[in-house]
């Protein structure tokens, strides 16, 4: 099934287009999808906020066909 992902801000390190479609398996969770992405370390995942169809969702959420994800990495500089 297809989902669309937008990489917002610091998470967009260039490996992907800012907005890109992905083909994933049915019932893939947000966390498992994040683990397939290659431009951040898996240890960063707890610091990634995910909006699914405009609403913040937990990483345990199961994705559906047509979902629109916005990924944001919380940053800690000051």
């Amino acid at each position: 099934m297809k989902i669309t992902v937008e990489f917002v801000g610091a998470i967009n390190t260039g490996s992907y287009e800012k907005k890109q479609d992905f083909e994933i398996e049915e019932k893939t969770t947000v966390e498992n999808f994040l683990k397939t992405l290659d431009h951040f370390h898996e240890s960063h995942i707890p610091y990634i906020q995910v909006l699914c169809n405009g609403k913040r969702c937990a990483h345990t959420k199961k994705l559906k066909s047509g979902d629109y994800l916005e990924l944001m990495l919380m940053v800690g500089g000051g």
Partner: protein
């Protein structure tokens, strides 16, 4: 209070004279005096809060001047907190400001910030922020989490149970060294002033009418992306789920 100084702020109907008086009666704590801290300090002092407490153990370096807006070349080598105190006194002599040239930790947190009406995070690492999260919960102090790196940043008002705590949405027991930081990934100065402005606006809204913006704001100033989202409290949060039960909020 010199009303002429604040005449334009008082004319802003959402603040008015009652809001100005509320600011005058407030005590604000700011942890950190870097890019976020200097921008926050500048704005909050000019707005007319009554008292500011600032803490930072660093000294001013040349590379700071690109984004730490209070400091100049003449300040290199001097204490950030003490220098900021002097500068703020020149900006607004009506503000009482107390500075600490030290690193805040669990042992000194309450002694330094225990009487604050609101705390503004301007630190540069998650370890300190997680400590702030726990101490503010313990002592019932609302705080505003801010963070910036490269061209991105976020601002979140944290005051359980009205909001989630930091651990509700950053549920990690580790702080990876590979997370983006300003040394490795750089930073544009404008994100510091942008996120600081958002956090100070949240602070002013809380101080004048106890209004809490529950949404986290995330922005990228290079792409002009701007996102707002609500994070519900985690009922299984290891930090706030037990601490906030039965507490009276301010």
């Amino acid at each position: 209070m010199n009303l002429e100084r604040y005449s334009r702020q008082i004319a802003f109907e959402r603040i008015g004279i009652s809001g100005q008086n509320a600011l005058k009666g407030s005590t604000i704590g700011i942890i950190g005096c870097g890019a976020l801290g200097t921008n926050i300090l500048d704005s909050i002092a000019r707005s007319g809060v009554g008292k500011i407490i600032i803490c930072d153990s660093d000294i001013i370096e040349l590379s700071n001047l690109q984004r730490q807006k209070l400091f100049t070349e003449n300040d290199i080598g001097r204490s950030k907190s003490k220098t900021a105190e002097q500068i703020i006194k020149n900006i607004n002599s009506q503000v009482e400001i107390k500075s600490f040239d030290m690193r805040v930790d669990k042992n000194n947190f309450f002694r330094i910030y225990g009487n604050c009406d609101l705390l503004l995070d301007a630190t540069d690492n998650f370890e300190t922020r997680f400590m702030i999260n726990e101490e503010c919960l313990l002592h019932n102090i609302p705080w505003i989490f801010s963070g910036i790196t490269s061209s991105s940043g976020q601002s979140a008002f944290i005051y359980p149970p009205k909001t989630s705590c930091l651990k509700c949405f950053l549920n990690s027991d580790t702080i990876p060294e590979t997370l983006p930081n300003t040394v490795r990934n750089g930073i544009i100065s404008t994100i510091a002033s942008a996120i600081s402005s958002i956090s100070v606006t949240k602070a002013i809204k809380y101080l004048i009418r106890k209004e809490i913006d529950q949404e986290i704001i995330y922005m990228d100033i290079w792409t002009f992306d701007f996102k707002k989202f609500f994070v519900p409290s985690n009922p299984r949060c290891g930090v706030c789920s037990s601490l906030h039960k039965g507490r009276n909020t301010k």
